[in-house]
Amino acid sequence: MSAAQPTVPPATKPMAPAVGPGGQLPVLSPDVSFIEIEALRSQQFLPAAKEALSALVKEQAEGTLIRPLFNWAGRNSLFPLHWGLACCAIEFAAAFGARWDAERFGVVPRSSPRQCDLMIVNGTVTWKVAHKLVTLYEQMPEPKWVIAMGNCATGGGPFRTAYSVVPGVDKLVPVDVYIAGCPPRPEAMLDGILRLEELIRERGA
């Protein structure tokens, strides 16, 4: 959009169609304003919601509604345990900050394991902390998942042969998704969460 054009279109201007010819999403021309983009988004949302709802209605008719519904709700509102074990916890914290904003995926860290269904092991696990980690995992209600974030949690990382470090958190609890990196960037952590959502959908129902 060039600076000469107005940012807000006149109210009389007709709205662009939500879905273009042939079911394709419309290619936004450069003069579409932000308000129009928001309107387009909500128009695209309505067909998607209708599709999802009709799938649910179909499943209800087949008697298979509740589990898919719980699966859908659960995988879109993963509550990870709010804790930090080592340097990876800094990236974990950054992922919930303004720049990466993990909450847009429904991921909200909770401080009590009783309210969590996801444990992100974000750092080096020492033998000293091992039984506390297992206790926290056991306090989480089912169904629950574990993400091993970073090389340390995956296999001990740079401290693999150290005398005090658990060589991989999968020695203690079952792990669903491993994220490589030392530390993984917040994008990688978000990618891991999205992979876990896929995994839950595949396993679910």
């Binding site: 033998w127 000293k128 091992a130 039984h131 506390k132 297992v134 206790t135 001990g156 693999r160 042969t161 150290a162 005398y163 005090s164 060589p167 991989g168 203690l172």
Partner: protein, 158 residues
């Protein structure tokens, strides 16, 4: 405060078991003493020499012997003092300093669990950095780095 002054004060206070008092970089002096005389020596160092603060206790494995050292700080002289004692390689042990300097408690726990130096009459000689039931002293020279599969530590469920 220099090594001569430390030596003169120790002699004046009748400190037992002093083997040598030498200059040492970064501290007023390095005092080597016999481990048998640790119990009467520590209060003399604290009160007669004026070193009320114990910064750290450490142990070193020199293969043929162990060494335990104490780093002390004096608020009045604004200087450090190093005490050190050579210990037997087979069963290294020394009297605890925690009845003289309470801050020795955790430092001695750490020196015990990592280097394997025993501290007699310690009030609470438990593991500090390692889980209970950890059977190794990992900073001893004889300790081999383990392949992860070999290092079997039982996880205690609470």
């Amino acid at each position: 405060m220099d090594a001569d002054e430390v030596r003169a004060k120790l002699t004046g206070a009748g400190a037992p078991g002093i083997l040598s008092v030498d200059p040492f970089p970064g501290v007023a002096a390095r005092v080597r003493f016999s481990p048998d005389s640790a119990a009467p020596l520590f209060p003399i160092v604290r009160d007669a020499l004026g070193f009320p603060h114990l910064s750290t206790v450490g142990g070193i494995d020199w293969v043929e012997r162990y060494e335990v050292f104490y780093l002390l700080w004096s608020d009045t002289a604004k200087t450090y003092l190093l005490l050190s004692a050579d210990l037997d390689a087979k069963a290294p042990h020394i009297e605890t300093a925690s009845s003289t300097w309470p801050s020795a408690n955790w430092h001695e726990r750490e020196a015990w669990e990592l280097v394997g130096i025993g501290f007699d009459h310690h009030p609470d000689l438990r593991h500090l950095l390692m889980p209970d039931g950890y059977d190794f002293h990992p900073l001893q020279r004889a300790f081999k780095l383990h392949e992860p599969e070999e290092l079997e530590v039982k996880v205690r469920h609470v």
